[in-house]
Amino acid sequence: MNTFSKADKNTLLFVIIITMLAPFILNPFPEGSAMAQFNAGYPDLMQRFAIFGILAVGFNILFGLTGYLSFGHAAFLGVGSYSAVWMFKLLSMNIIPALILSVIIAGIFALVIGFISLRRSGIYFSILTLAFAQMSFSLAYSVLTPITNGETGLQITLNDPRILDGGTGAGNLPVTGLFGLEMRNTFTLDLGAWAFQFNVGYYICAIFLILAFYLSMRIFRSPFGLMLRAIKTNQTRLNYTGLNSRPYTLAAFVISGMYAGLAGGLMAAMDPLAGAERMQWTASGEIVLMTILGGAGTLLGPVLGAGFIKYFENIFSKINDNVLHTWFSILPDGLENAIVWVLHFFVGKGWHLTLGMLFMLVVIFLPGGLMEGADRIRARFGRNKGKGEDTPNATNPAE
């Protein structure tokens, strides 16, 4: 049986190729060149691309399909991280039990928060989820210090029991791994002026991203996914079709919460510490931005959006005034200073400004996010082989 349409298969293949070859793709500039700082092919950042990709894919199942805008998804991320770190402390440095616990605990949290929040829709739902997330943040920061270690954040220590691993050796903090394969292991391939880094942690994250993406694709193409899209459009009709929308919305909420839990767990697996700031509302807002920037309701959009935002956050923020001066050093001094003074606001600490403007442009001119931009480009270059989506609309028979 044909599982997916050809377009879907290509999308999945595209994701697999991109994630597997990311160390090459994200490292286009030779070491030591002026452009080298635009390289994003280092393990830490690539891991973040994959992790936030998972987060955004999960968020999209809720927001993109049902239209319920959760403003508290960072809470599940944080819960996932705390659960994973506790697993590292108590059981073993193996990431598998940690990730399993992250997903389960985040799922339970999502069930409770979703059960209450989904009694309302629209802005009230958003406010309720926001309130829950802020509550989790505050609790983690203060009252729940025994569990979360408050301001300092939860870390692994030498005195942790770690039942399965036994005692730790030689006074070094143990590292996370997958049955002995350490997450931090990196193999560097020197190829001429280039140095490509292949990191175990990244590939673990990438495999989870592919699995997460495949699962979301299955949900999108299932009757359940069809129903979720129907929830977004018209709940009255659903009710008069004999379907109760609430359990389905709750299921979508829990699934997307579990995705966030997995992302949180992976974060802790890459770097075993968890802080309350991971749950703050700005973190929740970032997830929303990623999804909208990439294109809510599309399969690939959220992953793109996540990559975009993380790239800006990590690369643009590193360009400081000194870097700018070296770039424009060939210009006369006065002009150089003037240009640097202007650009100063857009790079380095001002990267938020650039991102904000980009976001505004996308929302105004490409309401469907970056994916809409990609579709338009494809249409312009005539590669749109009539998917049967645009053409029938042209012959609108409304007299």
Partner: protein
């Protein structure tokens, strides 16, 4: 015994008595029209059948089961479908997807949407949905986004969605409102054909007397919240009470 039995239904909104002691009996397999001037309580009555409103007093029995106090989706599961005055369809989805949803929902009478199957693998459901679209003559529009269609098409789509559920009772709230005469005639043909072929019981609220007298096998006239006459169509036309209710304003 009627498939839908309404007894002594009262409903007031604040001081306004919208329905007063309404009694109605819809026979299985017939098309029953409910007519009356604006504000007579027709839509209120229909809302009481589908769980949107709960009557203050009285009983609504469908196939011997009370419909009062159960939720709209549960009422639908017993076999009552409704076509709304303004079409309630999934405007963001394609025509085909619109019809697929009731087909999936109705499958095995389970009213569950599965996350493990894939829509494109469900050949029998696809075929059923296609057949529904052929029945309402919309198969050529299967890939259109529902919101981009004309009002008449939306209404036909909604009818297809309701019929896809094989309802025992189909409630139609002004199915031809705002339609051109040709579309109206098409709808009349469609409804009578469905009735001939599948013997679905229908309750139709309608203002257009042409539609009413083309379709109905029985007519109830509602005025100021009460049923003033319930009779066969031929007896309704010249009935003095009906003339009075319409203040001589209609046919």
């Amino acid at each position: 015994m009627g498939i839908l039995e309404v007894q002594n239904v009262n409903k007031s909104f604040g001081g306004l008595k919208a329905l007063q002691n309404v009694n109605l009996n819809i026979e299985e397999g017939t098309i029953h029209a409910i007519i009356g001037p604006n504000g007579a309580g027709k839509s209120t009555l229909l809302n009481c059948f589908v769980g949107k409103l709960v009557p203050d007093t009285g009983t609504v029995m469908f196939n011997g089961q009370s419909l009062l106090g159960i939720k709209p989706h549960e009422i639908n599961q017993t076999g009552v479908s409704r076509v709304f005055q303004t079409p309630e369809i999934f405007t963001d989805l394609s025509v085909m997807e619109n019809v697929l949803i009731p087909c999936f929902a109705k499958r095995d009478g389970a009213f569950k949407m599965n996350a493990l199957n894939r829509v494109r693998n469900e050949v029998d459901i696809q075929e059923k949905a296609e057949q529904m679209l052929i029945d309402v003559n919309m198969i050529d529009k299967r890939d259109m986004i529902a919101s981009s269609m004309s009002r008449g098409d939306k209404r036909r789509l909604e009818m297809a969605m309701c019929l896809a559920q094989d309802p025992k009772l189909l409630l139609l709230d002004e199915p031809t409102a705002g339609m051109a005469r040709a579309d109206t005639n098409n709808t009349i043909d469609l409804l009578s054909e469905i009735q001939d072929r599948r013997h679905i019981t229908m309750a139709v609220i309608e203002h257009d007397m042409h539609v009413v007298f083309s379709l109905a096998q029985k007519i109830s006239v509602l005025a100021q919240g009460t049923v003033i006459v319930e009779d066969l169509p031929e007896n309704i036309k010249g009935h003095p009470k009906v003339q009075e209710a319409y203040l001589g304003g209609a046919h």
